[in-house]
Symmetry: C2
Subunit: 438 residues, 2 copies
Amino acid sequence: MSGFPEWSPEQRIIEKRVLEKIEESFRLHGFINIETCGVESYESLIKKGDGKEIYRLAKAGSGEENLGLHFDLTLPLARYVLERRGELVFPFRRCQIQKVWRGERPQGGRYREFYQADIDIVAQGELPAHFEYEVPLAMCHTLKSLSPLGLGAFSMHINNRKLSEGFYRAIGIRDVEETLRRIDKLGKLGVRKTREILEEVAGEKGAEACLDLAQIEEKDPERLSERLEELRAKWKVDSPSPERDLMLEGERDAEAVLSSLLRSGFEGARIDCAIARGLDYYTGCVYETFLEEDLALGSICSGGRYENLISTPKQSYPGVGMSIGVSRLLSHLFSKARADRVSPAAALIAVWSEEERWRSDEVARTLRERGIACEVSPSASKLGAQIKRADRLSIPYVWFVSAEGEEVKDIRTGEQKEADPASWEPDPKYAADIIVRE
Amino acid sequence: MSGFPEWSPEQRIIEKRVLEKIEESFRLHGFINIETCGVESYESLIKKGDGKEIYRLAKAGSGEENLGLHFDLTLPLARYVLERRGELVFPFRRCQIQKVWRGERPQGGRYREFYQADIDIVAQGELPAHFEYEVPLAMCHTLKSLSPLGLGAFSMHINNRKLSEGFYRAIGIRDVEETLRRIDKLGKLGVRKTREILEEVAGEKGAEACLDLAQIEEKDPERLSERLEELRAKWKVDSPSPERDLMLEGERDAEAVLSSLLRSGFEGARIDCAIARGLDYYTGCVYETFLEEDLALGSICSGGRYENLISTPKQSYPGVGMSIGVSRLLSHLFSKARADRVSPAAALIAVWSEEERWRSDEVARTLRERGIACEVSPSASKLGAQIKRADRLSIPYVWFVSAEGEEVKDIRTGEQKEADPASWEPDPKYAADIIVRE
C-alpha cells in the first residue's frame, strides 16, 4: 500500500524513541496532552482541506458518509476547544501527537498516513504576542532534544503575514491570499515559473515586487530593517500609510521572535520573507523549519498564528501553533541512527526440558517483578540453539536455570557468572539501544 | 459524533497512564512493539470481518476505494508477518497498541473508534502448547498492573475449541462453526432464546447437549474432569472415538492453562465451556476476561489460539494472542480513578512585567533543562490572577522571579521559600497525579 509506511521492529524502536522525546519536551514546556478521534465531519474537513486529499468513510449498505479522516490536528483542536470552551483554562496550552491521513501522491518523505506532533496555545479573546516566540522556542528545544538520535542542525525560517500583506497591499495587489498561495510555490517551482503564475494575479510589476520581497532572508535584525527600508524605497511605498504600518507591525513581530530565538542560542533562526504557508487562516507569524543537511526533505516543523480559525459568533479564540512532521523526520533519521536491539528482553531464560519449564518461568517472574524484561526460551532445544535465538534478537544475556544454582552468560563477551534473580542487574551499557552512525 | 469517544485533559491523563502501564508490562514479557498502518485492503477486511461494520475509504473524484480501516490488530499482524517472514525471528513475540474502528451501534463500553492492546506469539511451523498459557499469564500480569489505577478483581474464562468441537461432533452436530457462533450469544440472549437458535442447526437434542456443556464452569481441575466425564456418560459419547479424543485433548490443554494461572496466584482463572468466541479462526484455547464488579461491561481481554490464520501455500504460522479492549476498560476506570492534575507543569513562573518576562523565561529554561516541567505565566497581570491560573490548572507551585532573588510558593500549603532554579525540586508528594476513589 503505497504511502502507508510500516516500520520494521528495529525502525519502530527509533520511532517510539522519537515520539517519547517529543512528548517529554512538550511536557516540560507545560503543554497539556489531548487526543481527538481520527474522524471529523466531512463537511468541516472539506471547508478547510483539499477535497482530493481527504479520505471519506463509507460503510457497506449504509448511507453514512458524513465522516472523514482528519488531515491535520489543527481542525480537530478547533472543534475540541469550541466543544469544551466552558471547562478549559485559557490560554490553553495543548499538545497532541497522532496520525493524520492525506491522500497525496506519495514521494520522498511524504506519506498518506503519518504522525504529526503539534503544540498550540489558544487564548480566549486576545493572544499576547509573546506566544509567537514561545511556541517556536519550545519547538527548537524539542528538535534539539532529538540530536542524540542523529538529528543534525536545523534552521527555523520566520515570516509574518502582516509584513507580506502590508507590502502586497501597498504595491496595489488586491488578492493577497492568492498571491501568498502562489509565492508559497517558490521553493518548489523556482523563480521563473513562480513569476509566471504571480503575474496572473499581481501583474508584471507586482510579481517583480513580490519576488523582490521573497529574496529577503536575514539573520541580523538590524540588517533586516535596512533591507526592508531599501525595498520600500525602491517600490515607492515608504511614505506613511496604513499598509506600510501593517508591514512595520509584521516586521516588528517577526523580529521579536528572531531575537528571542537567537538569545536562546538557536543560531539557525532567521527571517525569510519567502515563507508564505499554504493555509489561509494564518494572520501573524508563520514558521518553517529545514534540516541543513537535507533541505530536499522540505519543512519538518511548521505553523503560525491564526486569529479567527476558532470562533463563535460572540467570541474568538486566537492561537499560535506548530506541527512536527514526525514521519517525515523519521525517513531522515533512519539513515542516521539504528537500533541496537530487536527484543526488549535483557535476558533469555534457557529451558532444560519442558518438565522443568516452570523453573524458568519462576526466574522470569522474579526478574519482571524487579522491572527487568526477559523471555523464557520458546523450546527446550539444544543450548546452542537457545543462545542463537538470544543472539538473533540481540538479547545480551542467557540465563541458565537449575535446581542447584543459577548462572548468567553475557553472550557478547562470553563471560558467565553465578546470579540470583532477586538481585541480578544487567550491565547499564546494554541500556543504550540506539546507535547514531558517525 | 456518537461512538467516537474523546476525553477531557484529565481523563486523558488516566488513558495515557493505562496505555503506559500496559506497554511496560508487555515490554517486561519480552514482546516486540510494532505498529501497522490504520488501513488494510478492503478485500482482506471483508473476508474476515462484518461488512456492515467496516469503514471503507473513498476520496472525492477518485475511484480508489480498495482501502478500509482495520477493525482489529490480528489481521494486520497476519499481513505484517507474511510480508516480513524472511526477516522476523520466530517464534515472533509482538505487541501492538493502536486504535481500531468498527461501525457498531454505540452503547455502554462499545465504541466505533477504540484502543486495543494486543500480544501475540506467532511460530513458523509448530507452536508449542506452553504459549497457550504464557499469553494469558502475561495478560493477567498486565491487568494486575492496572490495580493501582483502580482496576478491581477480574476472572479469566478459558475454553478450548477442541473440547467443544469434539463434543459437538460426538453428538452428531455437523456445522460446528455455526453452532459455536450461536452458543457465543448465550451471555447476551439467555438460555431460552439461545436454545431456539441452536435447535435450528443442532436439532432439539443437540441444542440440549450444547447447553449442557455450556453450563460447565469450574475452577478445580479435578472436579472439571469429573463433570466432563458425567456429561459424556449422560450423552453416551464416552466410548473411545476420534471425537472423544479431540475433546480430551482440548480438556487437557485448557486444564494446563488453568493450572498454570492458578499456580501463579491468579485465583480468578477458570474453565468455562460457554466461551466460544465469535471468530472462526480459533482452533485451540480461547479466553475471555470479566471484571467481577462490572460483568455487564463484557469481556475486557479476549483471544485464543489460531492454527491457519497466517499461512502461505507452503508454510503455516500458528499463533496465540489476546487483546485488551482499552477504551472499554477506561469507560470503567473513569468511575474509579481521577486525575489530580490538569497541567503537567510543576511550577508556574510568575511575570512582573512584560519587560521583565525574559527573567521568567530564563528560570523556566533552567528548570526544564533539569527535567522539571513548568510554564511561564501568560500575562503580567496581578499576582492573584497568576496564582489563580496555577490553582485552576492544579500546578502546585508559583515561582516569583526578581533581580534580587527567587522565591517559590506552595499554593496548596501557602508555604513560601527562597529557591534556586539550579537546584530546586518539587515535593515528591505532588508526583502522584492519579487518585483512586475509595
